[in-house]
Each structure stands twice: as structure tokens, then as C-alpha cells.
């Protein structure tokens, strides 16, 4: 089965210490990502993200060097299907928070992702160079202290939470893999934190009857 995007969802809040939303996974060889962004006078850490009350695994979580913004990405292999709850908990109440989730099918269930890459800065575009491979799919999560963001030309925006509390934006997107994929978002200059990772396709052996099965 080919690696493919399944579904995306998300939400946003102000003056909260936790945020939750529903997400529906379907298909086979599933992988779920949950992206979280937060900004405040004092930046909190992400205490954890759960899906259906089960802890997800951190892919990356970083702030810019002020710090003014945090971007985090968590994952879960083989998440349950159906409409279930993604829940993000922070270590303290935050001025603004954004949450997004993206699920995929046809993902390698043993080695679902490669090594993530992260970056932060203060000028547009926000970029991160992700090591990938042809046939993979790269996913990113950016958090920017600006009210509107624009996805890079070669990417597909999967979820945008803009104008969070009149201050910030969260975005998740994908781009087909290659040797090195630079994920980018644009806005006006301000602090941002971003990261990305390459998703590996499932490696199921071809079955007799598959049109592309090779018998030797």
C-alpha cells in the first residue's frame, strides 16, 4: 500500500493549560502526528500529548532562543481508528496555544520515521532541511508569532491554525520525499520554531495477484 495522507484536524485556545480536539484515523499501516505550538510571557513545556488517553511519543519539541514560541511534534504508530481525542497538556497556562493532527496510511510500522530536523529564527521564511528519500513523505510543524502564515510552494498545507489569540499561527504540511527536502513557511519577520521529519513507507512484500508483483 502506498504511503498516503489520511486526515487532518486541529484547534486553538487562549489562557489555557490544556487543549483537545477530535481526530479520525482510518486505513491500514497507520501513523498519527500531533503538532502543538505555544507562546506566552514564560514559555511552558509540553507535559504530554495523548490520543485516546494513550501517551504519544515525542519527535521534537523546541523553542526559539528568546524564547517566545515553542513547536512540538509527537507521533503514534498504529493509532486506533475512529473519532478519538487528541489532548495536549502544558506545564503552565499559556497566552496562546494551537494544536493540529495529521494521520497517514501505508507507513512502515517498525521504522515509521527517520531522524527529525529542527530550526528556529526571526526572519521569513521559516525553513528546516529534512533528510529524506524518494518514496517517503516529509511532514513539518511550524509555530510563528504572527497571525497569518503561508505554506511553501512545493508543500501541501494540511492544517493551519491562524490568528491564535490575535498573535500567532501553527501550521502542518507535507511534501514528497527526496534526498533533502527543505520545508518552508512565509510570513512577516518574527520569532518562529519549526521542525520536520521523513515518513517511511510500509515495506510489505508484494502478494501474488498484485499487478506489480515480480516473481523470480
Amino acid at each position: 500500500m502506498a504511503l498516503a495522507f489520511d486526515a487532518a484536524s486541529g484547534t486553538q485556545g487562549t489562557a489555557v493549560s490544556s487543549l483537545s480536539w477530535s481526530h479520525t484515523c482510518s486505513g491500514v499501516d497507520r501513523l498519527l502526528f500531533a503538532g502543538a505550538g505555544n507562546s506566552s510571557g514564560t514559555i511552558a513545556t509540553v507535559s504530554g500529548i495523548t490520543f485516546n488517553s494513550v501517551a504519544m511519543t515525542v519527535v521534537f519539541s523546541l523553542t526559539d532562543d528568546a524564547p517566545a514560541a515553542r513547536s512540538s511534534l509527537y507521533r503514534m504508530v498504529n493509532p486506533p481508528t475512529g473519532s478519538l481525542t487528541v489532548a495536549v497538556t502544558y506545564s503552565a497556562t499559556q497566552d496562546e496555544v494551537g494544536g493540529a493532527s495529521c494521520s497517514f496510511t501505508g507507513v512502515d510500522q517498525v521504522t515509521p520515521i527517520d531522524t527529525p530536523a529542527t530550526n528556529f529564527g526571526t526572519t521569513s521564511p521559516a525553513t528546516v532541511a529534512v533528510t529524506s528519500a524518494t518514496g517517503d513523505l516529509v511532514v513539518d510543524c511550524v509555530y510563528w508569532v504572527r497571525t497569518a502564515i503561508t505554506v511553501g510552494a512545493l508543500q501541501t498545507s494540511r492544517q493551519e491554525q491562524e490568528n491564535i489569540g490575535g498573535f500567532s499561527s501553527l501550521g502542518m504540511s507535507t511534501e514528497p520525499g527526496g534526498a533533502t527536502i527543505t520545508m518552508s513557511w512565509t510570513s512577516t519577520n518574527a520569532r518562529w520554531a519549526t521542525g520536520g521529519v521523513s515518513i517511511n513507507p510500509s515495506t510489505a512484500l508484494p502478494r501474488l495477484g498484485d499487478s506489480n508483483a515480480a516473481l523470480t
Partner: protein, 125 residues
């Protein structure tokens, strides 16, 4: 025309409390729930940090026959100073709505640590 439930006073006991439902106008694209917080100008609202609220919005796409969890937020009470040192007047959660006619929403307020005296505002526009 938008649905705006102007801040209504609520006095909610400890436990899980249901509020609503409300009809969502077909034109609405986003729904927001706001709970009024303690500030110098609203000293009677959600005063205690020990009062913890998890607020959920549930959405019906079948005219109210069934509801599913849609989005939620949680926070402690008391004053919360934002980065500009002003006090946050409310805690809120917002989510884009799926396009469909006949939508309805209701809220659940899970309260621990003390009675919640606050104001509830629903904005679907």
C-alpha cells in the same frame, strides 16, 4: 446570522455539567467557547487557582440525535497575566466547523476543586 450567546452568568457545582444545546447557524464556520476569568474588573469570576475546569464542546451533525466530542480546553482559575502584563479576561477554545446544515452544539464543564462562578460565551460565526 451568527450565533452569539453573550456572556451568561454560570454557577456550576463540582462535577460534570451540561450546558446547551444551541443551534448553529448554517453560515457559521468557527465556534468558540469562552469562560470568564478573574480580573481586577471581574473579581467575582473564577477566583480560585484551585478551581480547575475542563470545558468541552460537543457537536451534532444529525439535528441533535447524537453528539460527538469536538474540542476542549482546561485551565486553573485566578488571575492569569499575559506577556503584556494585562490580565486575561477569559480562557477560550476555538475550532473550524464542518460545513453542514442543521448543526447543534452543547458544552460540558468538568469542575474540580470548588464551585465555578464564571461567565460562559458561545460564538459561532
Amino acid at each position: 446570522m451568527a450565533l452569539v450567546i453573550a456572556p451568561i452568568p454560570i454557577n456550576v457545582p463540582i462535577g460534570r455539567n451540561e450546558v446547551g444545546p444551541w443551534n448553529i447557524p448554517d453560515v457559521a464556520t468557527m465556534i468558540t467557547l469562552r469562560l470568564g476569568r478573574f480580573t481586577a474588573s471581574t473579581p467575582l469570576l473564577w477566583t480560585l487557582a484551585g478551581t480547575i475546569v475542563n470545558a468541552e464542546l460537543h457537536l451534532s451533525l444529525d439535528g441533535g440525535a447524537s453528539y460527538q466530542f469536538f474540542c476542549g480546553m482546561g485551565s486553573r482559575g485566578g488571575s492569569f497575566s499575559r506577556r503584556d502584563l494585562t490580565e486575561a479576561p477569559h480562557s477560550s477554545v476555538s475550532r473550524l466547523l464542518p460545513a453542514q446544515a442543521g448543526r447543534k452544539a452543547k458544552a460540558f464543564l468538568e469542575v474540580t476543586g470548588g464551585v465555578l462562578v464564571s461567565s460562559l460565551e458561545i460564538d459561532a460565526s
